[in-house]
Amino acid sequence: MRVLYFAWLRERIGVPREEVETSAATVAELVEELRGREDRYALAFSDLAAVRVAVDQEMTTLDAPLAGVREVAFFPPMTGG
């Protein structure tokens, strides 16, 4: 699936998007997989309270299921205006 990163998550991970092969059943499992890969992911996801997630462009939570999902986006709380 496609995984997107914005703002400081993008900076810490070093890419704005990537294709990820995963069998994770939930967003939380996907985060655990990514954290285990490399330090840059562990750093980006070190404080999950500061991370928001959207699945197929809908805001959701870390316990959201990933079955049939094409795109997961991670970002900090929004600061527009």
């Binding site: 997107l4 914005f6 900090p76 709380p77 929004m78 600061t79 527009g80 205006g81």
Partner: protein, 149 residues
């Protein structure tokens, strides 16, 4: 188009003219313009990142919700992205209605929802370096107060 996300600046007068043209039933237009603050010299540039495509949808949803709550005859929401200097305009909200109360309230509602629901992220650059702006609890509370109305 009522909602635009763009890099260039906007002209408030031209936007107001476009919103009200040909509609003599509009009796009030409320406008809100957000500007980049310099923070007493701590900010030399503000960089705004967004999620193309999704941002526009979020703003359209916020506009639709405002139209459901107040009798509005027109809404304009323009949000800029990219690098902006102190004093630059960031965001414009125009709400047109027969009477002022609806226009004022709808503009405030749109800004409160936009701050917490539209995918924008601010990064401040200054003499001390660059820093992503943290979301403010006050903005979340400002949004929450509309739930109970």
């Amino acid at each position: 188009m009522a909602v635009r996300v763009q890099e260039p600046d906007f002209d408030i007068g031209a936007e107001m003219d476009a919103l009200t043209a040909g509609n003599p039933d509009i009796g009030a237009v409320a406008s809100f313009t957000g500007l980049v603050r310099s923070g007493a010299g701590e900010i030399t540039e503000m960089e705004l990142e967004h999620w193309p495509g999704v941002t526009e949808q979020a703003l359209e949803a916020i506009e639709a919700e405002a139209r459901g709550r107040w009798p509005l005859q027109g809404v304009t929401i323009i949000h800029r992205y990219g690098p902006l200097a102190p004093g630059a305009r960031i965001v414009l909200v125009l709400t047109a209605s027969p009477h002022r109360a609806a226009a004022f309230e709808a503009a405030e509602f749109i800004m409160d929802y936009l701050k917490t629901r539209a995918p924008f992220w601010k990064r401040e650059v200054g003499p001390a370096g660059a820093k992503w702006v943290d979301a403010r609890e006050a903005d979340k509370q400002a949004e929450t107060r509309w739930y109970t109305r």
